[in-house]
Structure formats: structure tokens, C-alpha cells
Subunit: 207 residues, 2 copies
Amino acid sequence: MALGWARAGEEVLIGSRSVEHAEQAAKEINAAMGRGAASGLTNREAALSGQIVVLTVPYDAQEERLWDIRDEVRGKIVVSVVVPIDTGNARRLREAPGGSAAEEAQTLLGPESRVVAAFQSISHDHLAKMGALDSDVLVCGDDAEARQEVIRLAALLGFRGLDAGPLRNARVVEGLTVLLLEINRRFKSRGTGIRVTGISYGDQATG
Amino acid sequence: MALGWARAGEEVLIGSRSVEHAEQAAKEINAAMGRGAASGLTNREAALSGQIVVLTVPYDAQEERLWDIRDEVRGKIVVSVVVPIDTGNARRLREAPGGSAAEEAQTLLGPESRVVAAFQSISHDHLAKMGALDSDVLVCGDDAEARQEVIRLAALLGFRGLDAGPLRNARVVEGLTVLLLEINRRFKSRGTGIRVTGISYGDQATG
């Protein structure tokens, strides 16, 4: 995703607990781009300087990572790509006590951050096919403006982002990711996605 | 759905608490078909004579209706089209204590019936467009043979049925129906559906 946004002209800050890791990832993006589009930082530095913060960590690590950047993301959009997958069985959803990983993130960060759930079921395979994508990104969050901003980020990666309503719906979208892993296995696919049918894109009501 | 299956050559038995209601529905199907393809019966009679029983009742009525036909559906496939929608807000999923309406049906009927969850998000609009459908039917159940039988029933209505694994996944599929209602509203659509992308139909593994 970082590479995709860099390609679309966005400045990308990669955060990691290990600055070396982050710098290495940024270096690979810059090499692919032939210019300095990405930088590697600590999580806190990246969260502080970033305008929109995208959280792509395992569910088990979410709480700790979010506490670490809680002050830095105040007032910002935080995009949760987290899915509470059962570590013992990746096709089985774990019960998230707060309903979904994204709702738990919102509770943890408090109302000053605007959590938006998106991109959970986008596979490496989808990202590699940028520009020829037939999968949608369902975007849930309690702030309408934040949802629209994330729909814009999805479009930069070549995806149709769809406003899927309040953050509470993240529990369905996260569950859908696990269902798609099940279907991947049954159909021997490397990356299934979903497409919502029966809508005209231009008809989307905002708010 | 009854009309669709009748058109596909299946014999359809319609059950209702009111035989008059059931007979009226059957009469309309027979008039549309120009032959006697459907009969109206009580729920118990329909459940007893039917080979596959399709349950399309409101969530609140499910328990009572299932108790009524518990003995009659022993050994049979019971297809649950039920969604635990919040009656106060149709775009909000209710918490089903058993995880999903379909899992609750399986618990109530016991292991001798094979509950399969399917068709929840198929709208009137989809059924009216039979033959030109781009929406999939996700099929969940703990019995692989029963899932395949329901995939066949979906094909008779013009839908691609997809094996979506164990009955536990019904909680995601039921939730997805509520999410689609939300998207219907936002996009002013009469019937959104979903299409799973990234698979070749012929690749489906059974079992």
C-alpha cells in the first residue's frame, strides 16, 4: 500500500518499532520509484508527522502499538487494516470483545481520533494488479468526512472505495476477510475479493 | 424463490401457518406457470413432504416455527434465509446469542437435520432479473454434501453459489446482508449484492 500511495504522488512515512526496518522498507520503495518518496521512522515519529495514520499490525499487537502513539494521532484519521484472526487457525475469526478490532481501536484512542476501517481484504495479489482491479474496499467509520478521505486513498491505489456506514459495520467487514480466506482455500485462489453489485458509483450519497 | 424453482422444473410445496395463505401463493405461481407446479399446505405438511426445507421467516419467529416442524425435518436439509435484523432499525444487526440465526437453528433442530445458510442477501430485484445475475450466493453449513445441494438450488435460480465453509461463517454472511442494506440506502439502490472476485468457478474444491 505504501508503494501504491508513493506511486500516486503521496509522501509516505513508514513507522516501525525498529527504525532500521522502517528505513529498509522506505529504501525499497525509493529504489522502485527512482526518487525519495518514502522515509523510515519510529512509530511515534511517523504517527506525529503523518496526516493520516494507517495501522497494519497483528490484532494481538494492536493495543500496545496504539497506546504508544495515542497522543501523536490525536485529531487525525486512523485507518485500521487489522483483522482479529485466530492465530491457531487463520480462517477462523476471533471474538473481539469490543465487536471488531476497529471499534476497539476507537475506544482506546478516544473520540479525538477518527478511526476508519478499510483495506482488510486487499491481498498482495490485488495490489500487484494495480490498475486492473475488480475488488471494492468497504469503508466504515463514524465520521463521514474521514470515510470520504479514505475512499480517496482507496482510489489512489486503484480501488473503488464504498461508504459502508458506521464503524460498527467493521465487525462484518473484518469477518468477511476471514470468509474470503476460507474461499481462497476452497477455490485455490491467491486473492479473492468482493465486488458490490447493483449500484452505480456516481449515486453514492455522502454523509 | 418458489417461482424460480417451479420454473426450473422443481415441485414446490409452500407452507404457512394459514393454509389459505399458502394456497393463494401456490395459485399465483401456478397461474404464472400455466400448470400445477406448486401446492399450498400447512407448515408441518410442507416440512413433512418436502425433501429440502427452506426457512424464510422473520428472526423473531424462527424458534417457534422450527419447534413446530422439528420432527418433520429430521434427516433433511434445512436452508436458513433468516437474518437477525434489528426490527427497530433494519440496517442494524442484532446480536444472535448463538452467533447467527442459522447456528441457532442447527442447535434447535439437533444434529439430525443439516442446516445450510444461504440466499439472505438475494433481493426481489435480483430474482426479477433471473438469468442476468451478477450476484453470488454464499453457502455455509457443516455438511459438505448439503452445501453442494444448496449450490445446485442456487444455480436453478440463476445464481452462482459458492461454498463458504462451516455454518459458523453464517454470522458473517448474515451480517453482510445488513451491510448491503446500508449500502442500498447510501447508493439509492433497490438491491445490491456481492460478487466474489479472484476465483475461477471451475476451481471449486468440494468437501
